[in-house]
Symmetry: C2
Subunit: 167 residues, 2 copies
């Protein structure tokens, strides 16, 4: 792994939490993106891994359950605030988010799911290598109350980061 790769990993993680990011998934002919501000990055199974969380109620869940990849695009200079707002509050069942937000899909280098085009963004291209639905019985009670009052639990998707770069 190059120093650049690691630097981008870290910058992306910091900005993901502060600014948010586009989690994009392509499955067959369907593509959707949603806004995330949670997620984690690390090294396991001898690979750099991005872990994304998707609630079962989401349109993205329908896609990612069948998909082999996802991408995460982080606008590090926060120039897509309005677009992140739209993609985090509207569903891909009701809107073509790319059209509504004028977002461009750009082919990825290594996976089938495209990235979101734009200047000065960090992109993670991830191949899904593991996933697991959360087991509520093992979760801290306070977090259950704070985050899952509606029982809409997340599934965790572990993606091997096969490419990480800044556009």
């Amino acid at each position: 792994m190059s120093a650049n790769f690691v630097e981008n990993l870290e910058l992306g993680m910091e900005k993901l939490h502060k600014i948010g990011a586009f989690l994009t998934v392509k499955e067959g002919d369907r593509v959707n993106t949603m806004t995330i501000s949670w997620g984690n990055i690390g090294f396991e199974w001898r690979r750099p891994i991005f872990t994304a969380l998707v609630r079962k109620s989401r349109y993205t869940f329908d896609l990612i359950e069948k998909a082999e990849s996802f991408t995460v695009s982080v606008p590090v200079n926060n120039n897509l605030k309005k677009e992140l707002g739209f993609c985090g509050s509207k569903s891909g069942r009701d809107f073509d988010k790319f059209k509504e937000c004028n977002l461009e899909l750009v082919p990825s280098k290594a996976v089938e799911t495209p990235i979101i085009g734009g200047e000065d963004m960090i992109h993670y291209e991830c191949k899904i290598v593991y996933k697991q639905a959360m087991d509520p019985s093992l979760l801290d009670k306070k977090i259950q109350e704070e985050c899952y009052g509606d029982d809409d639990y997340h599934t965790l998707y572990y993606g091997e980061i096969v490419e990480c770069y800044r556009s």
Copy 2:
């Protein structure tokens, strides 16, 4: 979260992978530490989270299954290479690793499990908020072969990072 907290988080993550770290767990009167080089860091459930992986065969597994906290201590300048080697290859069932390696246990600021004393280390104090045993049927076949030929799967422990600092 202060800028310092985030800076330490990121430095620790980078060094964890390159150098390794001590994963320490206290349960009742028993304390043990083991060497890790995997793990990931991020933000989920509105909290900074450290995810540690422990195989079921480990002595640490016996402790962490009943514990409420763990700590991770990363020697960022790689001055404890021999000690990391010992703690990664010997079992706490056979050795008092602290005595053998002359490692000092220092009380944590916020959790029951102590940290490993020493100069220039990044410490994560973590309160366990979620855990889940891996489900082999959902894992990539190549990773299964590479990492789990012996069926000794990991359990993932998600710790809320309640303190993160450099000693």
